[in-house]
């Protein structure tokens, strides 16, 4: 029977805390950028301009249909060669995560907007609202409700996806765990603790999401 001993690992708990903090920052940062990118791409795809629609579509499909790990490695190792510039691992990491989640958000936003009944737009236009006013006062409030569960779900996945930054040595939780493991030779304790910490960050989030989803259902 393996003798569990967290002592050595807990000695480096500050490293775990730093890792969690970095994971949190990459998650929040990439979600923030991802929302902006996703909104832009979503409205580009809903626009009347063919070229805009095409560009957004190409972007989305590129990022949705290639593995995130390959994107991260490409942004860090290949892109600098292609452009002849230096890109730090933090920049490459944040950029890739943002573009990746943005491509999924765009579809979530678009789906939420398209799910609003056409009659809603007509009723708003019929009282004299402009397209913009209709979007803001009538469509978006309903679309946000539609898209919230999928949005939260994607954001939960996003936090887990930050662990792939390990591959380019960004000091997030997974990378820090591997550092602790290298120092202590305690893989079982190190990676178990990492799992517990990820769980501790996400479980409350999924519970809140479920709660809101149930509450929204009741209101319909």
């Amino acid at each position: 029977m393996y003798h569990w001993d967290f002592y050595a690992v807990l000695q480096s708990f500050d490293l775990f805390l730093w890792g969690m903090w970095a994971t949190f920052l990459y998650t929040v940062g990439s979600i923030a950028f991802g929302i902006v990118i996703g909104l832009a791409s979503c409205f580009a795809r809903l626009s009347n301009y063919r070229l805009l629609r095409l560009v957004a579509r190409v972007y989305q499909e590129l990022f949705r249909c290639t593995p995130l790990l390959v994107q991260i490695l490409w942004a860090y190792y290949a892109l600098p060669m292609l452009l002849g510039i230096n890109i730090s691992n933090t920049t490459a990491g944040l950029m890739t995560l943002s573009l990746y989640v943005g491509s999924f958000y765009a579809e979530i936003f678009r789906g939420g907007i398209l799910a609003v009944d056409r009659g809603q737009t007509e009723a708003a236009l019929a009282v004299g609202m402009s397209g913009r006013q209709t979007m803001r006062h009538i469509i978006m409030p309903q679309a946000i409700k539609n898209m919230l569960p999928a949005f939260i779900n994607q954001s939960v996945i996003q936090l887990k996806n930050t662990s792939l930054l390990y591959a380019i040595s960004v000091a997030e939780l997974t990378y820090m765990t591997s550092e602790v493991n290298a120092q202590t030779y305690r893989p079982l304790e190190s990676y178990t603790l990492a799992g517990i910490l990820y769980f501790a960050m996400l479980f409350p989030l999924t519970q809140i999401a479920d709660h809101y989803e149930r509450r929204m259902r009741r209101h319909d």
Binding site: A123, A124, V127, M129, Q133, H137, I138
Partner: protein, 258 residues
């Protein structure tokens, strides 16, 4: 046919030679129609004859493909903003209210907010002013005590009365009503028709597309019978509904025993 210069002072809506095509399909073949203040025009006709398309052209929910369209003597432009001489779709719609078959209430807003949203967003009215007006309208349709309810908590008849109040909140010159009782359970039709009748008595200018022949005969001062995208017969309710001339109209009416 009405020439623009000849449009009467009190004409609200005046269209001539109005056509509408969807791709290769021509749905309206040159409609001439003038609506004067206080008119209540009943529109009847078989399914697919273009009744909805016609009234949807009158608030530019569909852009006409041809013909002329004047609102209160001003030509209507197929874009949101007008200029001094011509009126845009935005302005047109402020003055032309529409009530839909399926209510289309805003589900995320309370009854009160459904009614105040247009005046507040489009007319920049203050909340207090909009709400005072809205409460007045809600009591007129008998729903003042439901002001803080949400649409999902109302019956179909109540929803449609809220939708009427929502349209009235803009103080429209004309109300377009497209089969507003046909999605309702039979026992709920009466309460909605009562509201419409009261509006007619108060002098509201209206166009109502309806299958309720008795009701049309009652409140309308003019009825048109549409068939295949044309006005096939036109006259007083008496003439159209009680003494139809054409065989087609007779056949159509015989299905209603109206």
């Amino acid at each position: 046919m009405t020439k623009p210069e000849a449009i009467a002072e009190n004409s609200v809506i005046s269209i001539s030679g109005l056509t509408k095509t969807f791709g290769a399909l021509t749905v309206l073949h040159g409609i001439d129609l003038t609506l004067t203040r206080g008119d209540v025009l009943g529109v009847i006709g078989p399914s697919g004859s273009g009744k909805s398309t016609l009234i949807r052209c009158l608030n530019m929910m569909e852009a006409p493909s041809g013909g002329t369209f004047h609102f209160r003597g001003k030509e209507v432009l197929p874009r949101f903003k007008g200029d001094g001489k011509k009126i845009g779709m935005g302005d047109l719609r402020r003055h032309v209210g529409m009530v839909f078959q399926h209510f289309n209430l805003f589900p995320h807003l309370s009854v009160l907010d459904n009614v105040t949203k247009g005046p507040r967003v489009v007319l920049d009215k203050s909340r207090a002013e909009a709400e005072a007006h809205a409460m007045d309208l809600l009591s007129q349709v008998g729903l003042a005590e439901k002001a803080n309810f949400f649409p999902s908590q109302l019956s179909g008849g109540q929803k449609q009365r809220v939708a009427i109040a929502r349209a009235l909140a803009m103080d429209p010159d004309v109300l377009l009503l497209d089969e507003i009782t046909s999605a309702l359970d039979p026992e709920l039709v009466g309460e909605v028709l009562t509201v419409v009748r009261r509006l007619a008595n108060a002098g509201m200018t209206m166009i109502l597309v309806t299958h309720e022949m008795g009701f049309a005969a009652d409140v309308a001062n003019r009825v048109i019978f549409m068939e295949a995208g044309r006005i096939a017969e036109e006259g007083s309710p008496e003439e159209i509904l009680r003494n139809p001339k054409s065989e087609r109209l007779k056949a159509f009416l015989s299905r209603f025993h109206g």
